[in-house]
């Protein structure tokens, strides 16, 4: 092939020297492929277990990484059942970003079938609450051995989580390390700008009752007081005595809101709310659980708005 004043011929045929519309189309497609597919191949492939981890990884990796997540948004992460394509996604990825703290235990089986994939545990540098050791005991009100796993709901923990992600991405893709660091700092600055606004919005939120003990990190950051939980053991409906106790506490403590998540049964929360005059606040524990929570910052934003007095 000779490149000069003559039209570019992509094949060696004698009569193919003219640029026909079909040839031009083919050339455009080839150029588009170079423009879009090659960068995609160059991107670092990361699979996150949840949508909120996906969002935090995207905040650090930006355009340089291609992130997907396994658990569909809005689905209860603790009862997730992987599908065959999930294994294919993990095998095709360089790294898997997990919540850890026994939250995504189902991942273990998949990881055994995908040797060589780097595992990033986002909980590594987080100060865990409700710590237990040596597994779950009969007196344990929450089914997680190492601590309460909903740590991403404290926006201040995003610093530790993104720090872990940054470290892993920089090790996997050293040429882009500075870019990842800049992305992370920009994200943390955006988060920081929101923190004061969130804290002031939640001042005076009053006593709360939650369906499940999902909110200790959120409560700690925004000084919220949860005085009881409807579900004391995961998956077990409350007893009459427990419900009577909650009604008494709600009246004594003047509970303002009964907190539940979209995937939790509405009946029990509505029952308490009706008898105590409290309102039901539907909070999202993950990105995509409600329409408004499209990324990490909008997730916290939504929860603050839903709970603000």
């Amino acid at each position: 092939m000779q490149i000069g004043s003559r039209p570019i011929a992509l094949s060696g045929d004698r009569d193919d020297r003219r640029v026909t519309p079909a040839k031009a189309g083919a050339q455009c497609l080839a150029l588009l492929a170079c423009a879009f597919i090659l960068p995609a191949i160059a991107q670092l492939k990361i699979v996150a277990t949840t949508a909120e981890m996906h969002s935090l990884a995207s905040a650090v990796g930006g355009e340089a990484i291609a992130v997907s997540h396994l658990i569909p948004a809005g689905e209860d992460a603790e009862s997730f059942q992987p599908r065959p394509q999930d294994l294919a996604r993990i095998r095709a990825a360089r790294a898997v970003l997990r919540v850890g703290v026994d939250y995504d235990l189902w991942l273990e089986r998949l990881l055994r079938q995908a040797p060589g994939v780097v595992v990033i545990d986002a909980s590594t540098d987080v100060a865990l609450l409700d710590v237990r050791a040596g597994g779950v005991g009969p007196g344990d009100g929450h089914a997680h051995g190492r601590g309460n796993p909903h740590y991403w709901l404290d926006p201040a923990n995003a610093e530790a989580i993104t720090g872990t992600i940054l470290e892993a991405l920089a090790a996997l893709d050293p040429p882009n390390a500075r870019r990842y660091e800049a992305n992370r700092l920009a994200f943390l600055a955006r988060l920081d700008a929101k923190m004061a606004q969130w804290s002031s919005a939640l001042r005076g939120a009053g006593a709360l009752i939650a369906y499940h003990d999902t909110w200790p990190y959120f409560a700690r950051r925004f000084r919220l007081r949860f005085v009881g939980f409807i579900e004391t053991r995961p998956g077990i409906a409350p007893s009459a005595a427990h419900l009577a106790d909650l009604l008494r506490i709600a009246k004594e403590e003047k509970v303002r809101a009964i907190v539940r998540e979209p995937h939790q049964p509405p009946r029990d929360a509505a029952f308490l709310a009706e008898r105590t005059g409290a309102r039901v606040a539907v909070l999202a524990s993950g990105v995509g659980a409600v329409r408004e929570a499209v990324d990490y910052i909008s997730l916290i934003d939504y929860n603050v708005r839903a709970l603000a007095p």
């Binding site: 609450l129 050791a133 000084r223 077990i236 409906a237 409350p238 007893s239 419900l243 049964p265």
Partner: protein, 438 residues
Amino acid sequence: MIDILALLALPALACVALVGIHAYFGLHVLRRNVIFVDLALAQVAALGATAAFLLGHAPQGLAAHVYALAFTLVAAALLASTRAWSARVPQEAQIGVIYVVAAAAALLLVDRAPQGAEHIRQILTGNILTVGWEELRWAIPLYAAVGLGYRFLARRLDGRGWLSEFLFYAAFGVVVTSSVGLAGVLLVFAFLIIPAAIGVLHADEFPRQLAIAWVAGVATALVGLGVSYAGDFSTGATLVCTYGAALAVAGVAYGLRLPHSSGATFEIAGRLGRWVGAAVLAASAIWIVVSPRTDQPVLDLLERVFPAIRSAYMDDKALDIAADAERHRERYGEEARKLRALEAERRWKGEPLDEIEVRKIGSFLKSYNEMMKGEEFVVREVRDRAREARRWWIGAVFTLFAASVLASPSIRSRRPKAGSPTPAGMARPADGRSIADR
């Protein structure tokens, strides 16, 4: 107390309504031998509601109910049509197939609908404790209308094959779709089968069976609600277990009412109990000799009920070590509880804990938990060593108990004298056939 009565009043009323309609349909279900049909129809209704949700309708809206009902009626038509196969393929097998296919199809649909799983769950997992007047206001007239309507139409359609079968499954499907949302799958199954089974055990005619089922069903529900409150147990699960116990009591009562059999029943039960007891004790004797350091279920149970048993095979030094370890374990537990309470309180009260303090508390909690496990290990180790040292002695005691259980005098059968009256309602019918033959 008034608060509790107010809390349990609506669940009690719901139980009365649910027993009322389910005992009635339960008798028909037992007669047709389609025991698990309620599970299949509820699952099909859940599939219908999920399909409606996927098509963009509100989860609790009219369209979702219409879809659920339409799917249930299709399943009813299917069940009525396949009744003819039951000579070759038992209808329970067909019901099982409908159940698993509906459950699997719903899972596939859920996969395409965010928060879809919740809508299946809402249909299948009601909670009798939090049932509201808003729901009962609709459910009670619905049950009354379906029950009376079915009774009226069934008489007119009697013997008209497919239509009669379809009417039954459709009416039952409408009831189950509503009741499973109120009380959950497990409890609805108990309401359906157990009172009806008690009725069938103790009466021959339909009206008497229904009356017994209603009385037994309502009484059991009230006892179950009381036990749930007193024991702080989950209400639905407690009710199901209470119904199981009620059926067991009704079964024993049935055995005692059998003509000429009360003495024999006692004798057989006594002999069986002795043999089982002796076998368990003998097995425990062998097990402690062979493997004294592993779990010893009988000895562990006895020690739990009578802790003083330990002093029979542990010396003073071992008892002191174990008691000391127990004290330490309790102290560490108390320290851990205090730390947890402190951390929880400081989330909202006083000066917030910083990250380092939170990490310190986490680290202390881990340490306390490990130390508690260490003390538990000490207690277990001291006990196991003592059991190992005295295993022949403990084994001999178990063997002695086993032999004495076997040698204990048997309960003599009390055979009724000739000509004595048989218990009411259990007389052999005039045609000479037994109740089971009819």
